[in-house]
């Protein structure tokens, strides 16, 4: 049986590295909101599972730009989406965006 979850894409080393970085950033952001011990996978929904607020995405955008440079422009990626699409984003979709920008 083929594993179709996003988690399976971590076989790619760049994706795995970006996933680690994004997970650490998200855990830091959640810890600042006093949310600890969150399990993050590629399939985690940023709103439904992690309960990230939209302002957390603004912080994530800043930290990604600091880490990877201006070519990773999360604000640009999100600006084309409708609210529902932003709410239903997964960690995997953020990771894929970062990988595609590098």
């Amino acid at each position: 049986m083929t594993d179709t979850t996003e988690q399976a894409t971590l076989a790619d080393p760049t994706t795995a590295e970006v996933f680690e970085t994004v997970s650490t950033m998200l855990k830091d952001i959640l810890a600042e909101a006093e949310v600890d011990d969150v399990e993050i996978t590629m399939d985690s929904g940023i709103t439904e599972d992690l309960e990230l607020e939209s302002i957390d995405l603004v912080t994530l955008a800043s930290r990604l730009a600091e880490r990877y440079g201006e070519q990773v422009n999360l604000a640009e990626f999100l600006a084309e989406m409708e609210l529902d699409e932003i709410i239903s984003l997964t960690v995997g979709s953020l990771v894929r965006y970062v990988v595609s920008s590098l």
Partner: protein, 274 residues
Amino acid sequence: MSFLDANGTRIHYQRSGPDDDRGAPVVVFVHGLAVDNLASLYLWMAAPAAAEGFDAVFYDLRGHGRSGRPETGYALTDFTTDLHALLDGLDIERPVHLVGSSFGGTIAFEYAARHPEHVASVVSIDSGPATERWATLTRYALQQLVDSAVERLAVETPQEMYAGIAAAEGLHTAKKFKSAYKVLTSAPILEEMFAGPFLPVERIATIDCPVLSIVGSSGVHQDDPRGLERLLPDCTTEIVSGGGHYLLTEQPHAIRDTVLGWVADRETAEARAA
């Protein structure tokens, strides 16, 4: 993330724009009350505004988002003083375009009336200047929200309450509710904001910069969508058919195009006049 001490409060702001932003038009985005923070404007406006060549500034109002939450100081003038201090702290001297959503528009009008020399134009997104009517309606809506939360929390946990709202009205509404409840119960906004006195209508009518009033056909101005045109000397109204009060989250791309296109046109008109 950037912070600046303005008017005694730590203000969180984001600035995006061309690398050399000297001479670029400055657009300051001001968010709404209690349910909102800079993210709603930043998510849809930051990248497109920068692409348009604007020096775009987004900030969290006091008591909101990642800005400081002083124990007192939530009258409307505290918010306009913050904006003045923010522009000063960022060394912005040229007149700015103010884009305000809901209460952010109210701040923009108040600021334009008090500091006309600092304002190039105002874009109001389902908003208007502070009046007795505004105070009554806004206070009532926010008080209803707090009261309904207090009622529910008497019989359920916060988690159950938010899950219930999310199930009935969606995650986004639940989040807005959560944000508003937190803001309104941790800062004396309801007590201080609506006490007035407010600027007299004659003073509001002196706002002579170009104004774009974007209103939802089902928004707060549904009974009189062009009211601001009668009050202000240079006001254009754009009625969004089917739009409610939260135009930005309802129709983000249409609102973005309207706002940024209008500001770009004002800059072109000004350059031509000069």
